[in-house]
């Protein structure tokens, strides 16, 4: 690393939070307390994570600790998915299964085929990217599918009434849900490097890595995210289809949307 952010530097950067708070005050948005609280909370969370990561990925530490960290992230993300998609029946176990499937495939390729060395310092951040994006995709795909099946119930039941099995009757709505989960990721992937410099790359360059190396790592991360979003979405939607239809091909009643928090 070519330079380090000192404590003084960190405190100085807090002035930027002050800018956001000042704008809120000036425009009477009433958001200044939230801005300060969010910034303070983020700082504390990051410091805690930094301390934990230092412990977990320090050289010589067993890789088991890193795997435990990954498992904890998956469980936490499952809980977040449950809270963000309250109208989706029992989404948490499905979400966890989807994250595990995405993890097995993407981590299998990256580490099994030696794209990256399997170490705590690679496993933990890569799994973090994977789980974070998979979680967003899960919420998008699951909510969209339940919304489609609920709002187009007449159409779905008309398909069932023609003797279509549940899986086939659900296919158009599964496709719509998968598209809505994948499209934003495809757009982001297309725009990478042109419109914005993604986080991993920015961080690496700031930390002193050569731009070319940073770009290669970013590309790997991007592909990881793409595969994990696709895998999670497909597992979650197909799993949900089994859940919202009965074994004798009836569509169960679906709850009306509660306001997601």
């Amino acid at each position: 690393m070519t330079f380090q952010v000192s404590l003084a530097g960190l405190l100085t950067s807090l002035a930027l939070v002050g800018v956001a708070a000042a704008i809120s005050l000036w425009q009477r948005l009433g958001l200044e307390r939230q801005v300060l609280w969010a910034a303070a909370r983020a700082l504390v969370q990051l410091l805690l994570v930094g301390a934990a990561l230092t412990l977990i990925i320090e050289p010589g530490r067993s890789l088991l600790w890193s795997w435990l960290w990954v498992l904890a992230m998956i469980a936490y993300a499952g809980d977040v998915a449950r809270r963000r998609a309250p109208e989706v029946p029992r989404v948490m176990p499905l979400a966890i299964a989807a994250f595990a499937a995405a993890g097995a495939i993407t981590l299998g390729v990256l580490f099994g085929l030696h794209v990256l060395p399997l170490q705590g310092r690679t496993l933990v951040p890569v799994a973090g990217m994977l789980v974070g994006n998979a979680m967003t995709a899960t919420v998008l795909a699951a909510r969209r599918l339940v919304e489609e099946l609920r709002d187009k119930r007449d159409e779905v039941e008309a398909r069932l009434a023609l003797g279509q099995p549940a899986r086939r009757a659900a296919t158009p709505y599964v496709r719509a849900a998968l598209r809505s989960a994948l499209s934003p990721q495809i757009e982001t992937t297309k725009a990478t490097g042109l419109v914005f410099l993604p986080g991993a790359m920015t961080g690496l360059i700031l930390a002193g890595a050569s731009p070319m190396q940073a770009v290669l790592v970013q590309a790997v991360v991007m592909f990881l995210v793409l595969a994990s979003v696709a895998t999670t979405s497909v597992v979650i939607t197909l799993g949900l289809v089994r859940r919202v239809f009965t074994p004798d091909h009836r569509l169960r009643p679906l709850p009306q949307p509660a306001r997601a928090r």
């Binding site: 007449d154 159409e155 398909r159 023609l162």
Partner: protein, 219 residues
């Protein structure tokens, strides 16, 4: 034997949460002609219809078709024997052909055209966009879509309630024509004048129970 044919409801109860949609409904629906299920809205008519092709199952009691409990039949095969036309036309996105092949993916074009003719349309409709049909046309396409599966019974859930009078009459005539081909129909209606026009038999329902139908004075 004849009594066995058609649907038989035996003390059927359907509960949804704390609401009883059907409360001990018993009736026999003959396997010929048009039987109208007549009652006010909210009386449980649609529930009766949905039980016939197992889009819904009874909380208690039995529904039998030709003596066999529906609970023991393969629902997918049952639904192809017992076609359903819904209250609001529900064309699927795509062309009329896409709609018909949703019912029978491998059906040859002649079969699709025959289904259209039986619904009083013709082969030229196959390539039309199902999203651009009028209510009456869309309902006919939905009827043709159901006929592609070769049902011997049709369930019609107030199929004309969202149509104008002339489109409604056309659907009535079409279904009457189909019954001459040996298809029986269970038709849900709350309109006494329509019942008098089309019914070979009438089953009354109110508050989830069988009642004597009160069709009022002929007008």
């Amino acid at each position: 034997m004849v009594d066995q044919d058609g649907f038989t409801f035996e003390e059927v109860v359907v509960e949804r949460g704390s609401v009883r949609a059907l409360d001990g409904f018993s009736a026999h629906i003959p396997a010929t002609g048009i039987t109208v299920l007549f009652g006010p809205s909210g009386s449980g008519k649609t529930t009766v219809l949905r039980l016939c092709n197992r889009l819904e199952v009874p909380t208690a009691g039995r529904v039998c078709l030709s003596g066999a409990d529906l609970a023991g039949l393969d629902p997918l095969r049952l639904r192809r024997r017992v076609g359903m036309v819904f209250q609001r036309p529900t064309p699927f996105p795509g062309t009329v052909r896409d709609n018909l092949t949703a019912a029978a993916p491998d059906a040859p074009a002649e079969e699709l055209e025959r289904a259209l003719r039986r619904a009083a349309l013709d082969g030229s409709w196959l390539d039309r966009d199902a999203g651009e049909l009028s209510g009456g046309e869309a309902q006919r396409v939905c009827l043709a879509r159901t006929l592609v599966t070769g049902p011997d019974t049709l369930l019609l859930d107030e199929p004309t309630s969202s149509l104008d009078a002339s489109a409604a009459r056309q659907i009535e005539d079409t279904v009457r024509e189909l019954t001459r081909d040996g298809i029986s129909a269970l038709w849900v209606s709350h309109d006494p004048r329509q019942v008098r026009r089309i019914a070979d038999a009438v089953v009354g329902i109110e508050r989830g129970r069988r009642v004597e139908p009160d069709l009022g004075e002929a007008t």
